[in-house]
């Protein structure tokens, strides 16, 4: 925005103001919103080019990875995070799960008429901090406004670009019988933290969302293992650990055998799930990953996970089997066996 005109404009009233349809009209007020709320917070050389798109250098000798995510979470603010940092972490993680180094992010916002500027600023500040801490700038973006009732405060869509070395193939189809199934930490925290804020399900807990960017953890694991030893990386978000493992089993055409007592879970998450009649295996995580690795590399990869702040509670929770039915099975803590099936619809609290 032309700085010479700045002293003729009145700054946005962040304390008391709200988004209205004018902010989305594309005129001076739209530009002011972008400048004062977004550009100022995200501030980087690419965004500061000031165009509708970002001019980026092309990485030589590597391949490009692109990932995208939409975020519609409600409430916008929850213990341990908010929709802003969640949208940054989520897309960084999607890129990292291909064994790629995330480089740039884009972010588009759909703002609901009536959203307070204070809330918007809080979300954007959180995003900026998350991006800065992760070392991945938000280089381009877009904003639209929809009428009251047609959005849930704010929807955010982020796309991430990253690079991966030639020859590295990490993906859902890579699991092989005998591989070790590693989990980076305790399950169920994000889902429980969000549920604790929903009306009619209120309970007091110190559980916070585990939302985090996992790319440096992944980098450490890749260094510890020989190239090609890590077959699959995936973060168990919606649908939880059980869904992710079923996806991988399906894609790779294998089965899995897990041990229930090896799966790390915080006592409070266990208790909250018990109270609501939910199974922690199906509850969302936003800062955990599953790694399926060649058995001879498992020790080294686990050690690398333990050495990283986000992997202290990492554990080997099972191994991949040769199973044409692609069942994910589990030895239960009581010594019996069960199937860990796909989630059927949404995980709903139960009384029975």
């Amino acid at each position: 925005m032309d700085t010479s005109k700045r002293h003729y404009t009145r700054p946005l009233d962040v304390k008391h103001g709200c988004i209205d349809m004018n902010h989305g009209a594309g005129g001076r007020l739209s530009a002011q919103l972008v400048e004062e709320i977004f550009a100022r917070a995200f501030d980087n050389e690419f965004l500061n080019q000031g165009n509708d798109g970002a001019l980026l250098p092309v990485p030589v000798g590597q391949r490009l990875v692109m990932a995208t995510d939409a975020h519609v979470i409600s409430p916008l603010f929850f213990p341990g995070g908010d929709i802003g940092c969640l949208s940054v972490h989520g897309t960084i993680n999607d890129v990292a799960m291909l064994g790629a180094t995330p480089l740039y992010l884009s972010a588009s916002f759909i703002l609901e008429e009536g959203l307070s500027l204070a809330d918007l600023k809080r979300v954007v500040t959180s995003m900026a901090r998350a991006a800065r801490d992760a070392g991945v700038p938000i280089v381009t973006g877009d904003t639209k406004v929809v009428e009251r009732g047609k959005g849930d405060g704010v929807f955010i869509s982020t796309t991430g670009l990253g690079v991966v070395p030639e020859g590295r193939v990490i993906g859902g189809a890579g699991a092989r019988p005998g591989d070790a199934v590693l989990l980076s930490g305790t399950i169920g925290e994000h889902g429980v933290a969000v549920l604790s804020k929903r009306a009619s399900l209120e309970f007091e807990t110190t559980i916070e969302s585990d939302t985090a960017a996992l790319h440096t953890l992944v980098a450490g694991m890749l260094v510890a293992a020989s190239e090609g030893a890590i077959h699959v990386l995936r973060d168990p978000t919606r649908g939880g650990l059980a869904t992710t493992l079923n996806e991988i089993a399906g894609q790779s055409g294998v089965g899995m055998m897990l041990r229930e007592s090896a799966i790390p879970i915080l006592p409070q998450v266990d208790a909250a799930c018990e109270l609501l009649g939910l199974d922690p295996l199906y509850i969302a995580n936003e800062g955990k990953l599953v790694a399926i690795v060649a058995p001879e590399a498992a020790h080294a990869v686990l050690a690398a996970m333990h050495a990283h702040p986000l992997g202290r509670a990492a554990a080997c929770i099972g191994y991949v089997t040769d199973d044409t039915n692609r069942f994910v099975q589990m030895d239960t803590r009581v010594g019996g066996r069960r199937v860990v099936d796909w989630l059927s619809g949404e995980a709903l609290p139960r009384i029975c």
């Binding site: 110190t206 266990d270 018990e274 009649g277 009384i351």
Partner: protein, 71 residues
């Protein structure tokens, strides 16, 4: 059939409501069905109501029963 958990009574909050603790998670529930319960005792919680109390001596006795060796 009915999901219910033993939780420890932490605090009375008036109007037949008590704060209980299950594994570090706290919830406000009704104790209208167990009017004589004391702080520190365990109640069985179902759909936000305590439907009975837990006898901790019997709980310990039952666990001992499980540990009896096979004949």
């Amino acid at each position: 059939m009915c999901l219910a958990q033993p939780a420890r009574v932490i605090e009375f909050q008036g109007d037949d409501i008590a704060l209980v603790d299950l594994g570090g998670v706290r919830k406000r529930i009704s104790i209208a069905l167990v009017p004589e319960v004391q702080i520190g005792e365990y109640v069985i919680v179902h759909v936000g109501y305590a439907i009975g109390t837990l006898d901790v001596e019997e709980a310990e006795a039952t666990l001992k029963l499980f540990a009896e060796l096979a004949t």
